[in-house]
Amino acid sequence: MSATDQHQAIHQAIDAVWRIESPRLIAALTRITRDVGLAEDLAQEALVAALEQWPQSGVPDKPGAWLMATAKHRALDHFRRNTLLDRKHAELGRHYEALEQTVPDFDTPLDDTIGDDLLRLVFISCHPILSPEARVALTLRLLGGLSTDEIARAFLAPESTVAQRIVRAKRTLSDAHVPFEIPRGAEFTARLASVLQVIYLVFNEGYTATQGDDWLRPALCDDALRLGRILAELVPDEPEVHALAALMEIQASRAHARTDSAGNAILLLDQDRALWDQLLIRRGLAALERVESLHGSNGPYALQAAIASCHARARTAAETNWLRIASLYETLAQVSPSPVVELNRAVAVAMAFGPAAGLERVDALVAEPSLRNYHLLPAVRADLLSKLGRIEEARAELSRAASLTGNTRERDLLLARAAQLK
């Protein structure tokens, strides 16, 4: 191996160690310093030290412990320096107190608290005091181990914007003295909902990215899945956590069937089911069983996962249990009502009870202001109208749908369909 190869090999090893260690390193350091921004800086300093030293010394036997010890030394230096420089400053005085209190903490065995620390880090990253964009960026950065550049590319945003967002988020948390804790009682439920929302947002960002985009966008699905799986281990008694995991596993199982090699979208019922990932489906169904055993089948994620599981269980599109899907949508419409849920419900009703029953429901949505510019409403309506033989109306709805979509490929498809109607 040449010197350059060796150099590269060690850098790849450090990168791997960093991916494994950084979340718990940052989590443990946040517990010690009570400042997530400072914790990340210290972890970064430890990484820089590793990049300087490991090429000469080799990767240590316990790289995680090495990084932690290095970061702790930096933490002590930091507190000492600050307290010596400005003893009177109240802010730093508090740091000094924190130092006094936390020094013994440096030696507590890490293993016992790692899970709790990670969970605290999840909750602080998804804190409602932050904007949804900031929650996403901070979560991917601190827990997903993504660099600012990677997050920027994944969200098609300039790197400086994302960097700013992260800096501001950390400052906000610090200024508001947001405690590094696992919330309790009613607050736990509300805060957990925010965590789930952030993870699902990341997943959908990746899921809606089409082929030809930067590969980092679809990779967001994997990041979200990983976060979902981690969360399921950290809070194993919460049914909605398993439900979100189930939903994402099942949706991700269709990743390879969703587009053709030219990048065109293939609709669910037209997908080649042999391309669905059976391992992910099994994982999703197992997670859904956990939801049921925890009596959480009526949660919003649980219902969506159950709907997804109906498709996953059907060997062919024709075998789909539309009656069950329609009934699940009915419950979902009660639990978390929205016009889009109603539209989905109308489609399921049409499949279960025929196009006339479906059309009745879709017609009831036409006046809905939030769907006024939603191209799928006239598209679905057109489909049902054509099945009922009302061709002229269907054609008009297809043109309307075409005029509403911003996607050229989709517009061409809709116009082609309009032309084919007889």
Binding site: R226, R229, L267, L268, H311, V340, L376, D383
Partner: protein, 144 residues
């Protein structure tokens, strides 16, 4: 990317009725918990000794069944994981953290799993044929 991480068998693990000792089991349990908490594991299982298995040998059109146990212990598999990670280096780092699976001399092999993308050159032509005339049914488009 996905990796199959294979724990090779030993004479001990191949003994009939062999069960790992309780301390090792506890250490492995802890390692697995770490893996799970890192969201890395897609699947994992341990295998019974080869005495409970069989082989089917192929030669042209003939099939010959050979019952276990099998002699070449080192080539046998005692257990496996499927992990999802970003690099082979990450898989190596994780394996280095694994307790010695058999106490004495052991080996763990890391193999990358084929992904759909790896087959893209073979599939594309056939797929294009199949999808080009795909029915443009708009129902289901609302569904993701």
């Amino acid at each position: 990317m996905r990796f199959m991480v294979i724990v090779k068998a030993t004479k001990e693990s191949e003994k009939e009725g062999a069960l790992p000792d309780s301390q090792l089991l506890a250490e492995m349990g802890k390692f697995n918990e770490e893996l799970l908490k890192a969201g890395v594991v897609l699947a994992m299982d341990g295998l019974q000794p080869s005495v409970k298995g069989a082989r089917v040998k192929f030669s042209g059109k003939s099939r010959t069944v050979i019952d276990g146990p099998f002699a070449e212990t080192k080539e046998l598999i005692a257990g496996f994981w499927i992990w999802r990670l970003n690099s082979l280096d990450e898989a190596i780092e994780w394996v280095k953290r694994c307790p010695n699976p058999h106490g004495g001399e052991s080996e763990i092999e890391i193999r990358q799993v084929f992904e759909m993308e790896d087959f893209a050159p073979i599939l594309s032509q056939e797929e294009i044929q199949k999808k080009v005339n795909a029915r443009a049914d708009l129902i289901g488009q609302v569904e993701k």
